[in-house]
Amino acid sequence: MRVELIVNGTERFADDVWPGESLLFTLRERLGLPGTKNACEQGECGSCTVLLDGLPVCACLVAAPQAAGRDVVTVEGLAVEDQLDPVQEAFVETGAVQCGFCTPGLVVMVADLIRRTPTANDAEVREALAGNLCRCTGYEKILDAVRLAAARVAS
């Protein structure tokens, strides 16, 4: 079946979609957007976090045809041309990246958190990121990045 949706502000379509395939598969394999990562495929790890109609969700748990007509933002949609999103800049500057596989999901999740709650305290940040796993266990630097990005956005 054909699925038409809006990805990063642009109308896109994918053909030959199997109705039970995930939005994650469609984004990566049919629309050429491999920034959204495929790790656990069961909603445990948050590596595939995208914004669906403005809400962070696991793309692996959305059936692709459910996204028809919806608005999807992936990690590729955060930067404006060459200008990184403040969250991406903060991750680079604080070294909040080890192997990098969890980074896109975290960046999308943190961007959403900071937009909603720029004054989030550490407990709120931990709660917001509870669904994003870093197997390198680099959480301290990630929290540093969140604090830096939040401070910049707030100022």
Binding site: G43, A68, A130
Partner: protein, 286 residues
């Protein structure tokens, strides 16, 4: 596999009547895991996320009617005062990403013994609104769970809403897991006090083939709590209540825990939940 995507409730019911073997999908947080891991797909998916009528909740007298499309995130943000036990349970579901998609109706459809929403619904005497082209019936939550992942829905029925009484008193929910997010419960307990009727509601999860109430514990607490004086909750009563809740369980040993651990932790959680709710109601120490 067909993909059915009605945009009205009437069309959804017609689609379910024509394709009774179609699998309803809302948040997909349970169903998609199976499909991703190669489980045999159902003949059709019936997507309910485009049915606008399901998305909201409303209040009618003393009841909150939660539409089948309402997510756990919405319950946390909008219904913490009216449905406190359900809201506490909602905060323990998955992660923010999961709570933005998952629904109470989906929990009921799956009918897992570990579903986090079930104990609060049992403790508060919720009703499940089941609809088909034949009409709508209301199923008492006590009659809804039939076995492991089996419920009372007919093949042509869909869950339209869940009706939860507005809380008459303090409610609590407690859950054991290996961390505070992304866990399937080892066991759960919900307790709801109703000082008007002088009754106590309970629900336990991951403790039997179905979620269930602990009826004898409810009767013990209702008969012996110092409702009139509003005095302190006796230690012995709290402990007996916990033991009766544990006695109502039929737990098994599995990958998440042993039956013995489940019984023990149910007794502890139930005792604490009763102490927390009683303290909240009487202004006493927790």
């Amino acid at each position: 596999m067909d993909f059915l995507r009605p945009t009205t409730w009437a069309d959804a019911l017609s689609a379910k009547a024509e394709h009774p073997d179609a699998m309803p999908i809302a948040g997909g947080t349970d169903l998609m895991v199976g499909l991703n891991f190669g489980q045999p797909p159902p003949p059709a998916l019936l997507d309910l996320t485009a049915v606008g009528e399901l998305a909201g909740w409303d209040r009618d007298d003393g009841t909150i009617r939660i539409g089948a499309g309402v997510t756990y995130s919405q319950i946390i943000a909008e219904l913490a005062r009216e449905c406190p036990a359900l809201a506490v349970a909602s905060r323990t579901v998955g992660s923010p990403q999961i709570r933005n998609r998952a629904t109470v109706a989906g929990n009921l459809g799956t009918a897992s013994p570990a579903g986090d929403a079930h104990p609060p619904l049992l403790a508060t005497g919720a009703l499940v609104e089941a609809s088909s082209v034949r009409g709508t019936r209301v199923i008492d939550i006590d009659d809804f769970f039939l076995g492991v992942k089996r419920n009372a829905l007919a093949p042509d029925e869909l869950i339209r809403a869940v009706r939860v009484p507005v809380a008459a008193g303090p409610q609590q929910f407690a859950k054991i897991g290996t961390r505070n997010a992304m866990v399937i419960a080892v066991c759960t307990v919900a307790v709801a006090l109703d000082p008007v009727r002088r009754s106590v509601g309970t629900g336990i999860g991951s403790a039997a083939p179905t979620p269930r109430r602990a009826v004898e514990a409810e009767a013990l607490a209702a008969a012996n709590l110092p409702w009139s004086s509003g005095g302190a909750l006796a230690e012995d009563l709290a402990r007996d209540f916990g033991n009766r809740v544990a006695a109502a369980a039929s737990p098994i040993d599995d990958v998440r825990g042993t039956a013995a651990y489940r019984r023990h932790s149910l007794a502890v959680l139930a005792r604490r939940a009763l102490q927390w709710t009683w303290a909240e109601m009487t202004g006493g120490p927790r």
